[in-house]
């Protein structure tokens, strides 16, 4: 015997607040202008520490409730000390975090109750690029694959649509799939 729950889906995402922001935009588009920030300090060898604390948005300076710090390093196989994830792994962390937040938000909006969401991310890379051993090989990933396992009150088609819509609205997916202008200066 199957039972159905009538309770509204609750994935812990305040969709009303997000839609409220969108409703504000026609009259005050400037609140949408954000700036994200991070600082990085070299520690030793290939180890550095990156901090995230403030950002600008909704028309004013903003602050996380505390400073977040991230150790960045390379593994011992690269003759480094492995004091943190590699930078390219942080890219996967960012993509997985962004897409999964999107899955939760879209599910909330569509009244789909999630029970578990698991993403596995893999990225292929050819070291010929960063080692400068083959000018035809790029430094970055040659491809990225994300595989979701999702348990939710929804049909397989609805779950596929959740994941597709999450990609469509994802900042990191956009950053990774489309070119971005990057300027690096020395102050």
């Amino acid at each position: 015997m199957t039972t159905t729950t009538q309770a509204p889906a609750d994935n812990g995402v305040n969709v009303e607040a997000l839609l409220g922001v969108r409703d504000m935009l026609p009259d005050s588009p400037e609140v949408a202008q954000f700036q994200w920030r991070s600082t990085t300090s070299w520690e030793h060898g290939t180890h550095s520490r990156s901090d995230v604390e403030t950002f600008f948005g909704f028309g004013e300076e903003q602050q996380h409730h505390r400073k977040f710090s991230y150790d960045v390093d390379h593994p011992e196989q690269f003759a480094a000390q492995d004091k943190g994830s590699t930078p390219v792994e942080y890219v996967l962390v960012a993509l997985g975090g962004c897409l999964t937040a999107g899955v939760a938000a879209v599910a909330q909006q569509r009244q789909i109750q999630l029970r578990s969401v698991q993403a596995t991310l893999t990225a292929e890379m050819d070291l010929h690029g960063i080692l400068g051993a083959d000018p035809d090989t790029r430094n970055g990933f040659s491809g990225v694959r994300v595989t979701y396992e999702i348990d939710a009150d929804a049909t397989p088609e609805e779950i596929r649509a959740l994941v597709a819509q999450s990609q469509k609205r994802s900042a990191v997916f956009d950053i990774m799939t489309n070119p971005t202008s990057v300027t690096v200066d020395v102050a």
Binding site: P26, E157, A164, K168, F173, N178, P179
Partner: protein, 421 residues
């Protein structure tokens, strides 16, 4: 200064539909047209273009409809122009041709309810203005189009005529809407290697369950869905056109194009140092289009069952084949590409509208065609009032609604005049 009650700008199917509805209420008006009736259909677009909607769907206010012998066919552009021209004659529409509107301003004098309409043939004063000058007046191309290396021909769909006008080299078609897929298909058949850059698109089979897909959308009421019923109006108003061609039984989706030899790339996102860069989002835009089509056909199946139509659902199209890995760049300096077709959309030309009712991106702000400026209306824009607002068949219902609103506005103006007199 000549006076009239309503000035309608544009004598295409929308302007003439509005004219017919106004005439039915005996509301005095003129239709100002910069060229001839149905000017765009006469002077723009490619030679092989046909309507995307079957002939039986060509219906206009006053009971006017296609009367030929091929109701399931698709009119050629010159035939559409002929039909709209005949409609203008039959309606005795008060059209002033070769009259270009140069400015529409709010009247500043005591008659604060009206508008001054300046044209190259003189100035009109009117209580109301209806903008029916077309959603596709001006092609939109990305800002980076000016980075195309010298020697490559750039053309937009309104200026494209036939393969013979293009260099005998490869073609990059940017955009996978109806224009993009039709032109890509034609150019690939002409013997040129076509590369199609596809962003978000609306995949559509020409027929489903042995009927035209538009028959299902019309019969099931989908095309009548109104702008206040949809959950995301911004999204539906910005959807690309359906991947359709006006040829019986022929589907021009990305699988059909690839089978014909077209190379599929992601959305064109930039040109840097002569290299065209394509998005890596191709698998997802194809997944989105496949899922969306699946939902459409599911809803048609459900409706067919409720309507008692026999037969199970038709076979579904195979998922869109995505090249793996999808190429991310083309060197435009290599000579491989001789032409770029920018099928990247259109916008209305409202440069003459000097009334503060445009948003920060220059788009008309309106509520179902009713603008915030009293007496100023618009017709024929995507999902203006209904899903079918951009189809010829959508003009009748929209024009009737707006004429009713406009008549109410005129009554209110008259009442105010009487009170203040």
């Amino acid at each position: 200064m000549p006076n009239t009650t309503v000035v309608v700008v544009g004598a295409g199917h929308c302007g003439l539909a509005m004219s017919r509805c106004l005439a039915d209420r005996s509301i005095d008006h003129v239709v100002l047209e910069r060229g001839e009736v149905a000017n765009s259909w006469r002077t723009r677009w490619w030679d092989s273009l046909r309507l995307l909607t079957p002939n039986w769907m060509t219906r206009l206010p006053g009971g006017y409809a296609y009367r030929g012998e091929d109701p399931d066919g698709y009119l050629a552009a010159r035939e559409v122009a002929g039909l709209i021209g005949d409609y203008a004659v039959e309606s005795a529409a008060p059209v002033l041709t070769c009259t270009t509107v140069t400015a529409v301003e709010s009247a500043v004098e005591s008659t604060a309810d009206g508008y001054v309409v300046r044209t190259d043939q003189g100035t009109w004063q009117a209580h109301a203005v209806v903008v029916a000058s077309g959603a596709c007046a001006t092609p939109v191309v990305p800002t980076f189009a000016d980075q195309v290396p010298a020697g490559i021909v750039s053309v937009t769909p309104d200026a494209y005529r036939n393969p013979g006008q293009l260099p005998d080299a490869g073609v990059l078609v940017v955009g996978a809407s109806a224009s993009g897929v039709q032109i890509a298909d034609e150019l690939q058949r002409s013997g040129r290697q076509v590369t199609l850059a596809a962003g978000e698109h609306v995949r559509m089979p020409r027929t489903y369950r042995r009927r035209d897909i538009l028959w299902w959308m019309d019969a099931s009421g989908l095309l009548d869905e109104t702008y206040d019923e949809v959950d995301d109006l911004i999204r539906v108003r910005n959807l690309p056109s359906m991947q359709l061609v006006g040829t019986p039984q022929r589907t021009v989706d990305l699988n059909a194009l690839q089978a014909a030899g077209v190379r599929l790339h992601g959305r064109l996102v930039g040109i840097r140092d002569g290299v065209a860069q394509f998005s890596g989002s191709l698998p997802n835009v194809c997944a989105l289009a496949d899922l969306k089509l699946g939902r459409l056909l599911d809803s048609i199946d459900i409706w067919a069952m409720s309507a008692g139509l026999d037969g199970a659902g038709d076979e579904r199209l195979a998922p869109t084949r995505v090249p793996a890995p999808a190429p991310l760049s083309i060197d435009l300096r290599s000579g491989e590409i001789g032409t770029i077709v920018w099928a990247t959309g259109f916008r209305p030309d409202l440069s003459w509208l000097d009334v503060p009712t445009l948003d920060r991106k220059g788009r008309l702000v309106h509520d179902g065609g009713v603008t915030s400026a009293p007496g100023l209306y618009a017709l024929g824009l995507p999902f203006l009032r209904r899903r079918k607002s951009s189809l010829i068949d959508g003009a009748a219902a929209d024009a009737a609604d707006l004429t009713a609103h406009l008549a109410g506005h005129l009554d209110a103006v008259a009442a105010r005049r009487r009170t203040s007199a």
